[in-house]
C-alpha cells in the first residue's frame, strides 16, 4: 500500500512479474496514472470521478469502487482504500489483460478465475462472499438507470428472475422452506461459464501510446 516513490527499472520489473504487463505498457499506464492524479503520488476517488467520459456510464460508481477495493489486490483483504498508489492501479488494470497465444490451459483457467473474481467483487459490495438479492437488484437497477422509472420497475423483476435462475441451476432441489442466501463465487462462475470471460474481458493495451492519452475528452 502506499505510493511507489521511484520509477526505477527495478520497480517496473517487479510489477512486470506481478501483473504480467510489459515494461512499455507499464510506462504508459504510469503516465496515465500521473495524468489522472494530477501528478500526485496517489489517486483518490475524486480524480476518477472527474473523468468526463465516465460520467455517462451507468455503473461508474461500481467501477470506481473496484479500484479502491482491497479484494482486487494480491493480499485479498476486505475493505477499501481511501487512496491508491500506482501499484494498486496497475494491479486492477491487470485484470483486463488480453490472452496471448502462448497462454497455457492452466493459465487460461487461472486468468478466467481472476477475471470472474473481479466481477464478483464488483457485485458483492458488502464483502460477505455472496451476492444477495438486494445487491443483485441494485446492480440491475444501475444498469437500467438510464431508462428512467420504467427501467426501475422492470429491473426488480429482471433481478428476481435472474436470481431464481441461478438458484435453479445450482441448487435444483431446494425444499420450500430453504432460503437461498445469495450467489456464491462458485455459482457465479457456473452461470458465466458459457460467456468465456477470459477472451471477452479485456482491453487492448497494445496500441496505447502517449499520443492517445488524453485526460477525459
Amino acid at each position: 500500500m502506499g505510493a511507489t516513490q521511484t520509477h526505477s527499472e527495478y520497480q517496473y520489473e517487479n510489477m512486470v512479474g506481478k501483473t504480467g504487463f510489459s515494461t512499455e505498457q507499464i510506462k504508459n499506464l504510469h503516465m496515465r496514472f500521473q495524468q489522472l492524479s494530477g501528478n500526485e503520488k496517489t489517486l483518490r476517488r475524486e480524480h476518477l470521478k472527474n473523468i468526463p467520459a465516465l460520467a455517462n456510464n451507468p455503473i461508474k460508481t461500481e467501477i470506481i469502487e473496484a479500484f479502491f477495493d482491497k479484494r482486487n489486490q494480491l493480499d485479498n483483504e476486505l475493505g477499501s482504500y481511501e487512496e491508491i498508489g500506482f501499484e494498486e492501479f496497475l494491479m486492477v488494470m491487470s485484470h483486463f489483460r488480453p490472452l496471448s497465444i502462448k497462454t497455457s490451459a492452466e493459465e487460461k483457467t487461472a486468468m478466467r478465475k481472476q477475471k470472474v473474481r473481479f466481477l464478483f467483487n464488483m457485485h458483492d459490495t458488502d464483502g460477505d462472499g455472496k451476492i444477495t438479492l438486494e445487491e443483485y437488484r441494485k446492480a440491475v437497477e444501475e444498469l437500467l438507470s438510464e431508462s428512467g422509472t420504467i427501467g426501475q420497475e422492470v429491473a426488480r423483476a429482471i433481478a428476481d428472475a435472474a436470481m431464481l435462475e441461478v438458484a435453479s441451476t445450482n441448487v435444483p432441489n431446494m425444499g420450500p422452506d430453504d432460503f437461498y442466501e445469495g450467489i456464491t463465487f462458485e455459482h457465479f462462475e457456473e452461470i458465466l461459464k458459457d460467456l468465456e470471460m477470459e477472451s471477452r474481458m479485456h482491453v487492448r493495451f497494445l496500441d496505447m501510446n502517449t499520443a492517445n492519452l488524453r485526460c477525459g475528452q
Partner: protein, 784 residues
C-alpha cells in the same frame, strides 16, 4: 416436446417410409419429366392446329369446341409452377428418408435430381429449354437467399470479426483469382496435349484471369446449404459465411474489369488504379444503397400500426428495390441487400406486430429454401444440357490449383490476422475455413454469360469445380468436423443472467477504456449506441418502444417465449423434464423479521392493491363455483383435493391454466424459466408464479416437485383470501400438516406418478370473447 410418441413411430414405420419415399421420388421425377415433354409436344401440335382453321375457315364450319387445349397462354407460368413443385416435392422426399439426409448434404441430392431430370428431358426431346438463364438466376433466385441471410445475420459476431472477414473476402479472393488465373495460363502454355482438340496455348492471359476471378469466389448459397447441416460453432460459421457474402463486391469488380480489358485489348496502369477505385465504389456504394433503403423501410414501418397486414410486404419490397437499384449501377447487389436487411432489422422488429414478424421470418425461409432447391436442380439440368469440352489437363489442373490457392491463402492470411486478433484462429479453424470454401451457382451463372471464345471449356471447368466442392467437400466436411472435434454450435438459449452480465461487461470495459484514456473498440461502440438511442431510434421507432433498453426488450421476449411454450405444452400436464427444480421465489426472498400477520411462516410478498384484491376475489368466486358444479358430478363425499384421486378433471386444470396465462400475459409478470439441467435436452419450462405452495404427498420427500410461484405483486393476504373464499363455498380442503396457510391443489401428470403440479388459483378469468391471438399481438407499445 411430445417426443415420446415420435421415436417409436418412426422406427416402426421407418423402413416402409423409406421405401415409400423412394418410390414417391422416382414416380414424381418420371411424371414430371414426361409431363413436361408431353406438354411441350402438345404445344407444338396445337401450334399446327391453330394454323389450319385459318385457311379452311371458309370451307368448313367448325363445331363448337367443348374441350380444347390451349397450352401456349399458360405455358410459362405452368412450367415455372411445375418446376417449383418438383423442387418442393424433392425436398419433401429427402426428409422422409432420414438416413440419406444424414450422410449426403441436401445440395448433392438436389444436383443429382437435377441431373436425372435433365437426362430425362434430354432423352424425351432433343433439346432442353435453357432453364437457368442468368436473368432468372440473378433477379429471382438469388435475392431471397441473400435477403434471408442478411436479415437474420447475427450482427454482433459479424461486427466483432469484421476485420478478419474483410481480409478473407477481399485479399483472399484477389489472391485466389490471380493465383489460379496466372498459373492456369502457365499450365496452358506448357501443356502438350495431343488428345485435346483445341490448343490450350491460345487461351490468353486475360481470359485466364477472367476465369480465375469467376472461380475464386466462395459461394454463399453453397456455404449456407452445407454449413447449415453441420452446426459448426458461431465463429467459424460467421467467418466463412461473411466472407462468401462480402466477396461479391470483389467478384463483380474483377469480372467487369477483366471483361473490359478483354474487349479493349490492352491494360494500362491507369486502368489498374481505376479498378481499385471501382472496387471501393462498388462495395461502399452497394452498402450505402442498401442502408438507404433500410432506413426507408424502418421509417415506413413506423406508421404501419393500422395496416398490419402489409407490413411484411414493405420489408420485402424495399429489400428487393435495394438489390435492383444496386444492380442498375453495377454496384454489388449482394452487399446492398445485406446492408438493407441488417440496417432495417432492429427498427422494423420494434415496430411491427408479432404476427408480421412471424410472417416475414417464414416467408423468407420459404423463399430462400425454394430458391436454393431450384438453383441446385437447375445446376444439374444445365450440366446435362450444356455443350461440354472435356480437357483433362485443364480440368485437373484447375481443381488442384483452386485447392492449393485456397489453402495457401487461408494459412497466409491467418498468420497475418492472428497478430491482430485476441481470439486466435487455430490450425483446426484454418482447416475448416479452407475446406469450407465451396463454389456454387454464382460462379456458374457468371460463366454462363461469358462472351469468350473459350466459353465451353471454361464452363466445363467451372461445373467440375462446383461438383467437386459440393460433392466431395460437402459430403466429407461433416465427418471431418466430427473427427477433428471442432467446437459445435452452442444450442442453448441465452439466459437472462448471461444477458445481464454481457451488458454489464460492455459498460465495464467502456469505463476501463475511458479511465485508460484509450479510445478502443468499446468506446466507439458505446458512442454509436448512444447516438443510436438518442436520435435514430426516436425517428425510426414508433411510440414508446424507442425508449426500451435492450435488456428489458430481451427480458420481455423471454417471458413471451416461455408463456407461449407453456401454452403449447398443453397446460402443464405434459411437461417433461428430467429433474425440475424446486426453487421458488420464497427461497430467494428474504424473510422479514416481524411478520404482519399471525401466521408464523408468512412470506414476505409485496402488497396488492385493494382493487386488484377485489378482482381476484370475484374471479375466484366465479371459478370455484364452476369447479364445484363440475366436481359434484364425481359423486364424492368430501370434495377433498387429493392428487391420488384419479378423476381430477383435466379440463378444469387446462381451463384454469389458460385463464392464469391470459391474466399473466396481461400483467406482464415473470415467467421464470428453468434453465436446461445438465445433460437434459428438453426445453426449458416456464413457471407461473403464484403465492400458493406445492402440495407434497406426505411421505414423498424426494419427489421432484414443480413449484410455481408468484413474482409479481400479490398480497400476503390473498393467501388467506383463498381459504376464505374456499370456505364460503363449502369446499373443504385438507391441508397438509406442514401448513403454510395456503390452499393447495394439484393435478396428476399422466406419465409421471411422482410429480405433482401446482395450480395457481389467484387469477381472474379472461373475457370469454377474447380471441386467443390477441394476447400475442403487440399492437401497442409494450407497456413496461
Amino acid at each position: 416436446m411430445f417426443s415420446r410418441m415420435a421415436p417409436r413411430g418412426r422406427s416402426g414405420l421407418g423402413r416402409s417410409l423409406a421405401e415409400l419415399g423412394l418410390l414417391l421420388l422416382a414416380i414424381l421425377v418420371l411424371l414430371d419429366g414426361t409431363v413436361l415433354s408431353l406438354v411441350a409436344a402438345i404445344s407444338s401440335e396445337s401450334d399446327t392446329h391453330e394454323a389450319k382453321p385459318v385457311t379452311h375457315k371458309n370451307t368448313s364450319k367448325k363445331s363448337f369446341p367443348v374441350l380444347g387445349i390451349k397450352y401456349d397462354d399458360v405455358s410459362v407460368p405452368f412450367e415455372i409452377a411445375l418446376w417449383v413443385l418438383l423442387a418442393s416435392l424433392m425436398k419433401l422426399g429427402f426428409h422422409l428418408i432420414p438416413r440419406l439426409s444424414n450422410v449426403v448434404p441436401e445440395s448433392c441430392l438436389l444436383i443429382s435430381v437435377g441431373l436425372l431430370v435433365g437426362g430425362i428431358l434430354k432423352l424425351a426431346r432433343d433439346e432442353v429449354p435453357p432453364v437457368l438463364s442468368d436473368r432468372i438466376f440473378f433477379l429471382c433466385l438469388l435475392p431471397p437467399i441473400i435477403l434471408d441471410a442478411g436479415y437474420f445475420l447475427p450482427i454482433r459476431p459479424f461486427v466483432e470479426n469484421i476485420g478478419t472477414i474483410l481480409m478473407f473476402a477481399v485479399v483472399g479472393t484477389l489472391w485466389n483469382a490471380f493465383f489460379v488465373g496466372g498459373l492456369i495460363y502457365a499450365v496452358c502454355q506448357i501443356a502438350q496435349d495431343q488428345y485435346s482438340d483445341i490448343d490450350l496455348s491460345t487461351i490468353g492471359i486475360l481470359p485466364c484471369l477472367l476465369f480465375g476471378s469467376i472461380i475464386s469466389a466462395v459461394d454463399p448459397v453453397a456455404v449456407l446449404a452445407v454449413f447449415e447441416e453441420i452446426h459448426i460453432n458461431e465463429l467459424l460459421h460467421i467467418l466463412v459465411f461473411g466472407e462468401s457474402l462480402l466477396n461479391d463486391a470483389v467478384t463483380v469488380v474483377l469480372y467487369h474489369l477483366f471483361e473490359e480489358f478483354m474487349d479493349s485489348g490492352s491494360v494500362s496502369a491507369v486502368d489498374a488504379i481505376l479498378g481499385l477505385v471501382s472496387f471501393l465504389v462498388v462495395a461502399l456504394g452497394g452498402v450505402l444503397v442498401g442502408a438507404f433503403y433500410g432506413i426507408l423501410a424502418a421509417f415506413t414501418s413506423r406508421f404501419t400500426s393500422h395496416t398490419r397486414v402489409i407490413e411484411p410486404l414493405f420489408v420485402f419490397l424495399y429489400s428487393y428495390m435495394a438489390y435492383l437499384s444496386a444492380e442498375v449501377f453495377h454496384l454489388s447487389g449482394i452487399m446492398s441487400l445485406i446492408a438493407c436487411g441488417a440496417v432495417m432489422r432492429p427498427y422494423v422488429e420494434a415496430n411491427i406486430s408479432h404476427k408480421s414478424h412471424t410472417t416475414i421470418k417464414y416467408f423468407l425461409k420459404m423463399w430462400s429454401s425454394v430458391s436454393e432447391t431450384l438453383i441446385f436442380i437447375f445446376l444439374g439440368v444445365a450440366t446435362v444440357e450444356g455443350e461440354h469440352h472435356w480437357d483433362w489437363i485443364f480440368l485437373t489442373s484447375t481443381v488442384i490449383l483452386c485447392l492449393v490457392a485456397r489453402i495457401i491463402g487461408v494459412v497466409g492470411l491467418t498468420f497475418i490476422i492472428n497478430k491482430f486478433r485476441i481470439v486466435k484462429l487455430t490450425t483446426k479453424d484454418q482447416f475448416i475455413i479452407a475446406y469450407g470454401g465451396l463454389r456454387g451457382a454464382i460462379a456458374f451463372s457468371l460463366g454462363f454469360i461469358l462472351h469468350s471464345e473459350h466459353k465451353r471449356i471454361f464452363l466445363t471447368a467451372i461445373i467440375t469445380i462446383i461438383f467437386f466442392t459440393v460433392f466431395v467437400q460437402g459430403m466429407t466436411i461433416k465427418p471431418l468436423v466430427e473427427l477433428l472435434a471442432v467446437k459445435k454450435k452452442n444450442e442453448a438459449k441465452r439466459s437472462i443472467n448471461e444477458e445481464i452480465h454481457t451488458r454489464f461487461l460492455d459498460h465495464l470495459l467502456t469505463g476501463i477504456e475511458d479511465i485508460c484514456g484509450h479510445y478502443g473498440h468499446h468506446h466507439w461502440k458505446n458512442k454509436l449506441n448512444r447516438f443510436n438511442k438518442k436520435y435514430v431510434k426516436k425517428i425510426l421507432i414508433a411510440g414508446d418502444r424507442s425508449k426500451e433498453p435492450h435488456l428489458i426488450a430481451f427480458y420481455h421476449k423471454l417471458e413471451m417465449k416461455n408463456a407461449i411454450q407453456m401454452v403449447e405444452s398443453g397446460g402443464g400436464s405434459k411437461l417433461n423434464s428430467s429433474f425440475p427444480s424446486t426453487v421458488s421465489m420464497q427461497n430467494i426472498q428474504p424473510k422479514i423479521q416481524s411478520p404482519p400477520s399471525a401466521r408464523p411462516s408468512e412470506r414476505v410478498l409485496p402488497q396488492l392493491t385493494k382493487g386488484r384484491e377485489e378482482e381476484i376475489r370475484q374471479i375466484l368466486r366465479t371459478n370455484l363455483q364452476k369447479t364445484r358444479q363440475r366436481l359434484q358430478s364425481y359423486n364424492r363425499h368430501t370434495l377433498v383435493v387429493d392428487p391420488d384421486e384419479e378423476g381430477f378433471d383435466d379440463l378444469f386444470l387446462k381451463k384454469r391454466r389458460r385463464m392464469e396465462l391470459d391474466w399473466k400475459l396481461k400483467q406482464m409478470t415473470n415467467y421464470l424459466s428453468v434453465p436446461r439441467p445438465q445433460g437434459s435436452p428438453t426445453m426449458s419450462r416456464a413457471r407461473i408464479a403464484s403465492d400458493s405452495q406445492a402440495y407434497v404427498k406426505p411421505g414423498a420427500e424426494n419427489v421432484p416437485t414443480i413449484q410455481i410461484d408468484l413474482a409479481s405483486p400479490q398480497s400476503p393476504d390473498s393467501v388467506r383470501l383463498l381459504d376464505e373464499v374456499v370456505q364460503d363455498q363449502g369446499l373443504t380442503m385438507s391441508l397438509p400438516s406442514s401448513s403454510r396457510g395456503a390452499y393447495k391443489t394439484s393435478g396428476k401428470d399422466d406419465g409421471r406418478d411422482q410429480q405433482t403440479l401446482l395450480r395457481c388459483l389467484s387469477d381472474p378469468g379472461p373475457d370469454p370473447d377474447d380471441d386467443d391471438d390477441e394476447d400475442y399481438d403487440d399492437d401497442e407499445p409494450v407497456p413496461t
